[in-house]
Amino acid sequence: MRRIQLGGARILGMNICKMVLLCVGLSLANSAFAVMPNLSHDQTVGSVNCANSFCHGSITHWDDSNVLQNEYTTWERLDQHTKAYNVLLNKQSKLIAKNLGLKKPAHESKVCLDCHAHNPPSEQRGERFIMSEGIGCEGCHGPAGRWIKSHTLASASHANNIENGLYPTDSPVAQAKLCLSCHFGDQNRFITHRIMGAGHPRISFELETFTAIQPAHFRIDDDWHKRKGDYNPVKVWAIGQVIASQQLLNAFTDPKLGRDGIFPELVLFDCHACHHPMSQQKWTPRLGVGPGRIRLNDSNLLMLRAIVRVVDSNRAVEFNKRIMQMHQAVSGDGDPSGLSPIESAQKVSSSLDAYVTIIKNQEFGLPQLKQVYLALIDEAIDGQFSDYAGAEQAYMAISNLSLSLAKMGGLKSAADVNRQLANMRKTLSNDEQYQPKILARQLADLKYTVSQSR
């Protein structure tokens, strides 16, 4: 049976690969392979050109437009991206720059500006480009040089705009890649352990949560669907987890990013595996890698465990095993299948490709959503959130999914859940004093609450 399963899985795997190719073929132009805004060769015109009160700078949203028209205002008033540049002016940033031995202060150094601002090459900066606006419109939506004139046309379609250089943030994969390129890093901009060591705060990110609390300057309504298709926050979350996991694994396997001298790039590992008083024992046997070993940051893979349990239940065990083997390989015990740590990680990473498509094809209706939800809680009960990073991801996921559940009518009492979420937030408020047992207990309580809601 096991064999057959495996065999079936392989076949299925191949099918998935084909499907992926097909899908990629279809969506190549407009999503996953779109040029990232920071790599575009187009002219950046500056957010001021979007800010007009009858363009995107309205104080309130318009009802009769296919976009809200107050995107700029929302960004300017509420979005932390506006402050990204100014952070570089504060004392801590000055210190980081000094500690890193940068030649210029933080607000003039490319390594900082690449993420704390939209930082196109100087010849691509329009006359009203302002670095100090932080992550402005074009930092995410792509330099507007080729699309600013045409995107207002009545005939302009989303596809036209993308063709003209608009970045397809509506595609969860593209969105995830874009956000993670700063909120984790990619081959072009990467926050190393050295930067952390110089004083940069720990980075925490979850695609759907951060999209919501950004706050979103768009509204998913009929217009949106008409122009951009389906939108399901659960999918965004799930795809975010896939891409985040891949980004980490890809960095790990990248000979440049993954190494720092004789050490691996430490930023890829769980911070708290090392960062705790020597008197404290912080390991748990959950990864099967014993004490004294540093652990790859598997917080996103942990979420995927729960997702896979629901969307690909047949291979969940295999999936978990694969990850466990990778951990063993990385920690020095060796991959039981004989792969090197890098190969092992590559294998996990490439296996993740399929899940983008699988997730896209899910409906994530109420029953399924609830399954994911409970699966996450089961992971906790299983002791998987013993590390802070995972617990944090789990909290963000559960909080997210609770909202979706509530919207679908899957919660008996949103207030109760909110109360419980608030307690969990308290448990997680200090990463250095995080106690997994308390969270596990809280999640068990939550499970009870949610299970009652039938």
Binding site: N49, G126, S132
Partner: protein
């Protein structure tokens, strides 16, 4: 017409329905250029599209670019998202293309011209619209052109902006059409109300045009109820201004009374059917022919004169509906949207023009467009719209000193023709021809300009380059309207220049003006421009119709500076702010920077016009915190001063119970102003013979013109009152706001009335005042404690009198004639020039403005040449001119009111008359046994019947008290009060002289009052509100006239042979047989004689002008007594003019231009005119009370012994000592303080005074009770 909103902003939803209704079109008269108009077929281009493809846009530019080849910003917009072709905005034929050779060849060549004429849209008036430069003084000529042409020359003009800009900017256009910058409703409304033309303080008139230049009415998008009106200032509707010929006179001037059958209309062009007047040519009894017309109001010359000024003289004109006048440095701009968003070169001062200063002040262009000449005035700097608008662009309109405050923001006010006169007047007196006068006055409505050097635009534009050579002032570099503006410097009260540390700068120091502090706004000093505080809505309006400027403003000081206890919210909170306010953090500059940003606990603002400039905001709360580096003890003490008993003891600090100067009670700028502009009077002399253009509506020429002549524009007046509910009914600075006096010369050059103040619709005097934001904020030079409260040294009595609007008798207007009471006559002696400037004969100003006349005067040995008199029954010991009437106490002749309306009319033989016709039709005489003196409660013209009680006229009562929110008159204002040596006090109702009805002018006693003979031998009376101070042989008698018909005796202070008295705030100065005595009348119920005494041999009547008392001291001449400290007066100087002034009986003081004059009734010698200050004798003449340097400049022997002089018109008095209003206040619900409100500034509840010191005493500080650390700015964010 109905326009639907195609834009979506919810904010403007309320404005969706706009009715720009056509109103009855006013008939067009006498358009001289009508024949010259070419009739053409015009095609209006389609509306510029909101979006289009680049290819489509290119098509609409192709032909244009074959000649224009390049321009600065193709679409005018810096935003690359805007896709437009030339013809989208301008119209015209973009398909006409010329070859390179033709384009580069001779532009006069036929082929080039022909192509141009086909491509361009041509005007109807080809002679006028000759080039692409804005023509000079186009005004209403724009209304003659087809909108397609207007759109072609300026797509941003409001007539066509809907087509050119509307597909994107419609809500702003709609708001702009209704904004005050377009409607000018505040000017027309204020002028018509303050001058009695329309009784509506809810203004009903505003300028607006339809697409094809027809007069339009504007309707507010929502109906404003009374609440919205009173508390938000929103008007429902504005209608166009009727033509001046049809507006009946409001003025109670005698020539407007019915009569005058022999005087025909002198305006054939206004449609009089019977031009020869053959109907009847003989006088009718009781209808003398000096009256203007036998026809009804609104015909002939029977019209409201100030309206001529509004329609024909450029005061604040032109507004946004028209192009700038484009003829003088500071006058260059376009109309509508382009009026502000296209920058012109107007001012070379970087503080005014920012980065544009380097482009000069002559309106020349920097464009790359090869077809625009670079040396021609009237072109914008570039073909480019910008939001980086420098103040110099605002100044093109906002230069009129009494009304608008870019001047004061810069630290300038109107020049007074006097300082540095030698540099500004030609050495040889100018005698301009009529043609020259017309040309000059078309550019500059000041009549003085026709004689001055500055009438030459070449001289004018470089006036500021004279500065290094000047002695008394420094000039600004902008000269819109042809005017000159002088800089205001920090001075002490005596007028000495002060440096930043408060040290005196020597008058003769050649670098004195760089050492003294120029009192510009601190905001300007750090590089701010108007647009750094006034954001889009303040400029465009919010779509509602307003009538008051302040009501239409959304920004407030605290929005950016916070308060003593809170950090700024960065949300607007002014009267016109949207609910919740505009979030200032969302604003960006033209170049894309955030305008406001908190960085590291500091609030940064970035310059809207200079990409390199930013500054850190002063946060009031930080200056209150002793632990903060910005702490300022003086500021903390002022802002945290305790209210009530605690404060009276000087306690202050965060720990006090209640703040005295809380933001809820007063505005920030009540203290944070360094000076206040005030225009104490403006002379508008209408002249019938000038054929001039109307500047509004139908345009065209009619006869009549009035020049515009500011008289006393000062910077030393600081006055307080209450703002209206729109501004929170707070204690606020008040300024004298362009009170008018009117004169009229008819077509026969007869002066049918002269220098007459109109009366406001509310019946109050038209010597108007208004709450006001001076824009002269500074950090160091602010108002301090002793500017508003009695100082510990008790040296600010005059300051307090001025502050409370009780008047200081310093800026009083004596005018063309000095009026004298004599042993047997009343007499008017002409003391000034009639032409402008109306220099006092023999004065410093006359020496420079009229060198020939000055020489003649010297040749006459200073003797004045002209006088008019009328015999009197007996000694005229007191007299007072008010309006066209002269009130006199004539001893045994009793009380008489002379009609002096025709005093300057050459067509009248006897110009002072007892009645204009038979005494059976007019009798203003009240017989009494021995009328020794008289007083009227104000010498300003008033008409209490216009503001009646409910029982008299319910409808008028409702209109005035409820709708217009006016206060009632006190009962004393109906009466004249006469002292009679035998009969005591006689009270006479004189209202009839102001009711406009000539048939009821009969005076009679209302009351005669002398119980127990307490007023026996009364010889003088002074009124202070409803208290009267009567001089008798035995003492000073204090009466309460609260009920004027039932006088109440309060107290008699025994003094020997009291001759006269004069009142200033808390002190009554009295002359008796011993000299000068002082009474403390803080509590008029309990007057107290003070020990102070100035011995004088024969003190007669006296006059108080600020810190000096002028006592007519008989043979000792004029005694000038320093009363800065009223309880310890000291003799400053005894002035006899080398013995020539040796029988002084009475004296008054008044201001003409920048100088101070005394007019002395010198008994047997007649009149003496003494110049008290002049730039050459007293360089500190701009001070609040400079030391007088008396100099006898003119004299005239009178018909009989001169006994009395009539006081000049009060120009800084709005309220009496008992808190009753005299003069009109602009702004709904605004008013002077009541007596109780005044007393709160200096009296304890027990009636005793409390005093202040300007020094900070830290031991008075009460710290905050809780020891919580101050919140950091981070938290505030």
């Amino acid at each position: 017409m109905l326009f639907n909103l195609s834009l979506k902003s919810g904010l403007y939803r309320a404005l969706a329905i706009v009715a720009l209704a056509l109103l009855a079109v006013i008939p067009i008269n006498g358009i001289s250029s009508e024949e010259a108009l070419t009739h053409r077929d015009y095609t209006m281009a389609p509306d510029a599209p909101k979006t289009q493809t680049e290819a489509d846009a290119k098509q609409k530019s192709e032909g244009c670019m074959s000649c224009h080849t390049t321009t600065d910003r193709h679409t005018m917009h810096a935003n690359p998202g805007v896709v437009l072709g030339c013809a989208d905005c301008h119209g015209g034929n973009a398909s006409i293309t010329v070859s390179r050779e033709v384009a580069d060849g001779d532009h006069k060549a036929h082929e080039y011209r022909e192509a141009m004429e086909h491509a361009h849209i041509l005007p109807r008036d080809e002679k006028f619209w000759r080039s692409s430069a804005n023509p000079e003084s186009s005004y209403a000529r724009l209304n003659k052109e087809h909108p397609a042409f207007i759109r072609f020359i300026n797509p941003g003009d409001l007539r066509t902006a809907r087509q050119a800009c509307g597909s994107c900017h419609l809500p702003i256009i709609q708001a702009q059409e209704r904004s005050l910058m377009s409607t000018s409703a505040m000017l027309w409304g204020g002028a018509s109300y303050n001058n009695g033309i329309l009784p509506y303080k809810r203004y009903i008139i505003g300028e607006a045009y339809t697409h094809d230049s027809e007069p339009a009415a504007l309707v507010n998008p929502i109906k404003a109820d009374s609440e919205l009106y009173v508390h938000k200032g929103i008007l429902n509707r504005l209608d166009p201004l009727p033509a001046w010929e049809t507006i009946p006179p409001a003025d109670i001037f005698r020539v407007f009374e019915r009569g005058g059958r022999n005087i025909n209309s002198t305006f054939p062009e206004v449609g009089l059917p019977n031009i020869t007047g053959t109907l009847q040519r003989v006088d009718e009894p009781g209808r003398p022919d000096i009256k203007q017309s036998n026809r009804g109001p609104g015909t002939g010359s029977n019209i409201a004169v100030p309206v001529i000024n509004i329609t024909k003289t450029r005061l604040n004109d032109p507004h946004l509906w028209f192009l700038g006048t484009n003829e003088q440095a500071g006058d260059y701009r376009s109309s509508g949207c382009s009026g502000c968003h296209s920058i012109y070169a107007n001012d070379r001062d970087p503080l005014h023009a920012g980065p544009y200063a380097k482009f000069g002040n002559e309106g020349t262009s920097q464009t790359t467009d090869p077809t625009i000449p670079k040396n021609e005035s009237g072109h914008p700097l570039k073909h480019e719209f910008t939001r980086a608008i420098p103040s110099s662009q605002c100044m093109v309109c906002h230069m009129h000193q009494p009304n608008i405050f870019v001047n004061s923001f810069y630290g300038y006010t109107m020049w007074d023709y006097e300082s540095d006169a030698p540099s500004m007047w030609p050495e040889k007196q100018k005698y301009p021809t009529d043609a020259e006068i017309r040309a000059i006055n078309e550019r500059n409505p000041e009549e003085a300009a026709i004689r001055g050097k500055w009438s030459d635009p070449e001289f004018l534009k470089n006036v500021s380059t004279l500065n290094s050579t000047l002695k008394d002032t420094q000039f600004a570099d902008y000269h819109g309207h042809g005017w000159n503006f002088r800089a205001i410097f920090k001075r002490n009260r005596k007028g000495a220049l002060l440096d930043a540390k408060g040290n005196i700068v020597d008058d003769n120091d050649p670098k004195k003006f760089s050492k003294a502090v120029h009192l510009s706004s601190i905001h300007m000093d750090i590089g701010m421009q108007c647009v750094d505080c006034h954001f889009a809505q303040d400029m465009h309006g919010n779509g509602h119709i307003y009538g008051e400027v302040a009501a239409a403003i959304e920004i407030d000081c605290s929005d950016c500076h916070g308060t003593a206890t809170t950090y700024p919210t960065l949300h607007t909170s002014g009267p016109a702010a949207r609910p919740g306010g505009l979030d200032l953090t969302t604003l960006t500059t033209q170049d894309g920077r955030r305008r406001f940003e908190w960085i590291d606990g500091k609030l940064i603002q970035r310059s809207a016009i200079d990409p390199k400039k930013e500054w850190t905001m002063s946060l009031v709360k930080d200056t209150m915190n002793p632990n903060h580096p910005q702490y300022n003890a003086k500021a903390a003490r002022a802002k945290l001063m305790a209210a009530g008993e605690e404060g009276q003891q000087g306690q202050w600090g965060l720990g006090v119970k209640k703040f005295a100067h809380d933001n809820s009670k007063m505005t920030c700028y009540t203290c944070h102003l360094s000076w206040t502009t005030s225009c104490a009077g403006c002379h508008l002399p209408i002249q019938a013979n000038w054929k001039t253009e109307r500047h509004h509506y139908e345009g065209g020429e009619t006869r009549n013109y009035a020049t515009y002549n500011p008289q006393v524009a000062r910077d030393d007046m600081f006055q307080l009152g209450l703002s209206g509910p729109v501004k929170g009914s707070k204690i606020t600075p008040v300024r004298s706001s362009s009170a008018l006096i009117l004169s009229s010369t008819n077509s026969n050059r007869e002066r049918i009335y002269i220098q007459q103040p109109p009366i406001a619709s509310s019946g109050f005097s038209s010597q108007a005042f208004a709450p006001h934001y001076p824009h002269t904020e500074r950090k160091e030079e602010t108002k301090t404690c002793s500017d508003c409260h009695i100082s510990k040294d008790n040296d600010n009595n005059a300051i307090m009198a001025q502050l409370l609007l009780q008047g200081t008798n310093f800026v009083n207007f004596v005018g063309f004639n000095a009026w004298l009471g004599e042993e047997r006559h009343v007499e008017a002696v002409t003391v000034t020039e009639w032409d402008e400037p109306q220099a006092v004969i023999g004065s410093y100003l006359q020496r420079y403005a009229y060198p020939d006349y000055f020489k003649e005067h010297q040749d006459h040995k200073h003797e004045l040449q002209l006088a008019q008199d009328h015999s009197a029954a007996d000694r005229v010991n007191c007299l007072q001119l008010r309006g066209e009437y002269l009130y006199a106490a004539e001893g045994k002749g009793g009380f008489r009111v002379y009609d002096v309306a025709s005093i300057a009319n050459k067509g009248i033989a006897q110009r002072i008359i007892t009645a204009p016709f038979s005494s059976m039709g007019h009798d203003t005489h009240v017989a009494s046994k021995n009328a020794t003196c008289m007083a009227i409660p104000t010498n300003q013209s008033i008409a209490p019947s216009r503001n009646p009680d409910e029982s008299t006229d319910k409808a008028r009562f409702e209109l005035m008290r409820k709708t217009n929110q006016e206060q009632a008159f006190h009962a004393i204002y109906h009466y004249a009060f006469i002292t009679d040596a035998v009969e005591g006090l006689i009270v006479v109702d004189v209202d009839t002289l102001a009711d406009g009805e000539p048939r009821n002018n009969f005076l009679k006693r209302a009351v005669t009052w002398n119980p127990d003979g307490i007023l026996n031998n009364a010889r003088h009376i002074t009124l202070g509100g409803h208290y009267a101070y009567v001089s008798t042989a035995k003492g000073l008698v204090v009466l309460d006239l609260d009920n004027p018909l039932k006088p109440r005796h309060i107290k008699t202070i025994a003094l020997d042979d009291v001759r006269g008295s004069a009142l200033q705030f808390r002190y009554l100065f009295v002359t008796d047989s011993t000299g000068l005595r002082v009474l403390d009348v803080t509590k008029p119920q309990e007057p107290v004689l003070l020990p102070a005494q100035i011995p004088l041999k024969n003190a007669q009547k006296l006059y108080l002008a600020r810190t000096y008392a002028y006592v007519a001291a008989g043979e000792q001449g004029l005694a000038i007594i320093d009363i800065e400290k009223p309880e310890s007066p000291v003799v400053y100087q005894m002035f006899t003019a080398d013995g020539k002034l040796n029988d002084a009986r009475d004296v008054v003081v008044g201001s003409t231009n920048a100088s101070l004059f005394a007019y002395v009734a010198d008994g047997k010698n007649g009149l003496k005119v003494v110049q008290l200050t002049a730039p050459d004798t007293q360089p500190r003449f701009y001070g609040f009370s400079p030391e007088p340097k008396p100099n006898l400049i003119a004299w005239r022997k009178t018909q009989s012994t001169a006994l009395a002089v009539s006081k000049g018109l009060d120009r800084d008095r709005a309220v009496d000592e008992t808190g009753h209003q005299i003069a009109v206040f602009g702004r709904i619900g605004a008013r002077p303080f009541t007596r109780g409100e005044m007393e709160r500034l200096y009296l304890r509840p027990d009636g005793n005074i409390w005093t202040v010191s300007d020094k900070v005493n830290n031991s008075d500080m009460i710290p905050k009770k809780s020891a919580k650390p101050a919140a950091s700015q981070e938290q505030i964010r």
